[in-house]
């Protein structure tokens, strides 16, 4: 779940990280504005400044006009229902700091840059000496002395180092306490009067941990946080319901397309690879989806039935990377059962089945019984996609 800037800043305030004074507004009637102010559309996406989602206003009337404009404007697929009106600060210097997950090291990672308001990846390539990264333990957190060590490596010292270290340490607390996958302040401003203030904040919370944050669940349920050009289709809503049947695995993160080849795909990022491969071979996917984490037979069966319920879908391709925790035989059972319950013949419905890995011998026995041809790990995802596309025209 991506929090809006104003929601993230409320959290920062709880941790005594200063933010510009201001508030989020949804209307301009009786609004008391003390210019100059910054006006920021509250939408869950970056790049607002370059897309017309942020304005500066030097008069009260000008600010009100811009607020009305922002509330009526679609910015990169979203329309704000709230505009953050904040004091404009006199800035001397900007910094970047973030805490995120290093998924390879399986550890939280602190990132600091002496240059803020920038694309941090580009800066790290261009001037690596300005960006410092350090892993830290979830148990011992990021004490201030360690935060200062990280920051001092960029050449910062004195009172500024103390202040920045304090904020980076607290941002790590925010990250851990809220089960975030990202907590980023960019830019963090040093004002001309010597204050350190978080000008913008981007926080993303791990969806699987939301149950531990009831206030955020309530927030997510609010239908009026922002408007989106694209809402879930009925097909996607049903798929999400299937995924909620039980806690085991994932079988339902679906995006609907208008093609004729149903896709049941996944495995460590392989769903995107498989989807792209199907398209590159001229296939027209009926959907994107993700399965993994050893979903129950019931979930796979229901997802298969749902995909086959689309009138133009006669064939499905089942493609995963080599699996370890997902069992091939359980997925095979779900696929075959879903096809049978849809009143179709598995041998004629599966355009390709390629899930190598755990319990594959058992899975292949099941597929053999129903006449479904399967591909093992010697056949690449790309070749499997080609075969699926070739078979989908029958």
């Amino acid at each position: 779940m991506r929090l809006l800037e104003c929601e993230s800043k409320e959290i920062l305030s709880k941790y005594q990280i200063a933010t510009p004074s201001g508030r989020a507004v949804s209307f301009i009637n009786n609004l008391d504005i003390k210019p100059p102010v910054m006006l920021k559309a509250q939408i869950p996406i970056g790049g607002r400044g370059k897309s017309g989602g942020i304005f500066e206003a030097s008069t009260s009337d000008g600010a009100k006009a811009k607020i009305e404009q922002l509330l009526a404007t679609w910015v990169r697929g979203y329309k704000a229902t709230k505009i953050l009106v904040e004091e404009k600060l006199d800035i001397d210097q900007e910094f970047f700091m973030a805490i995120t997950d290093d998924t390879v090291a399986k550890s939280p990672l602190a990132i600091f840059s002496s240059e803020g308001g920038v694309d941090i990846e580009a800066l790290a390539e261009r001037q690596p000496q300005k960006v410092r990264k350090e892993l830290f333990s979830m148990r011992s957190k990021l004490p201030q002395y360690r935060a200062r060590e990280i920051i001092s490596e960029t050449g910062i010292s004195g009172r500024l180092l103390l202040g920045l270290g304090n904020i980076l340490s607290r941002l790590a607390d925010v990250f851990l306490d809220y089960d975030a996958t990202l907590a980023e302040i960019n830019p963090l401003a040093l004002t001309r009067d010597g204050r350190l203030i978080a000008l913008d904040c981007h926080m993303e919370i791990d969806d699987d941990a939301l149950f531990r944050h009831k206030e955020l669940i309530e927030l997510a349920k609010e239908g009026n946080r922002f408007e989106s050009e694209r809402s879930l289709t009925e097909f996607e809503r049903k798929a999400a319901e299937i995924d909620q049947i039980d806690h085991r695995g994932v079988a339902g993160r679906v995006i609907e397309f208008d093609g004729n080849l149903g896709l049941i795909i996944g495995g460590g990022g392989a769903s995107l690879t498989a989807f792209d491969a199907v398209q590159s071979h001229g296939g027209k996917p009926a959907n994107y989806c993700e399965i993994g984490g050893n979903p129950s037979v019931l979930k796979v069966k229901e997802l298969t039935r749902l995909i086959l319920s689309k009138p133009n879908v006669q064939k499905i391709a089942v493609i995963m990377n080599v699996v370890s925790n997902t069992r091939v035989d359980l997925v095979a059972r779900g696929i075959v059962k879903g096809i049978l319950e849809a009143g179709k013949d598995p041998a004629k419905t599966v355009a390709a089945f390629r899930i190598p890995g755990a319990w594959e011998e058992e899975g292949f026995k099941i597929l053999s019984k129903y006449g479904v041809q399967y591909l093992d790990r010697t056949v690449s995802i790309d070749d499997t996609a080609r075969i699926a596309v070739d078979n989908s025209g029958d």
Partner: protein
């Protein structure tokens, strides 16, 4: 009976039902229930069987058999 798995309970092997609750609880995918103080199979869950064999070990000797219907085999 499931499409792929059939789980059978031979009640004649279950002479002492005092531990019946423990027998049914070992299944990680809820294939068993207790009905009238006897173990019974929940047919709609049979295809979820992970072949872990915990039930075979927990129930009295030879009381539970697992049948793989896709290869006509009993394990």
């Amino acid at each position: 009976m499931g499409e792929f798995i059939e789980v059978k309970i031979d009640l004649s092997e279950c002479t002492d039902m005092s531990d019946v609750d423990k027998w049914v609880q070992v299944c990680p995918v809820n294939i068993f229930k207790v009905e009238d103080n006897q173990p019974a199979v929940i047919e709609e869950n049979e295809d979820e069987c992970t072949l872990c064999m915990l039930c075979v070990e927990a129930f009295p000797h030879d009381a539970v058999t697992i049948h793989k219907l896709y290869e006509n085999g009993m394990i």
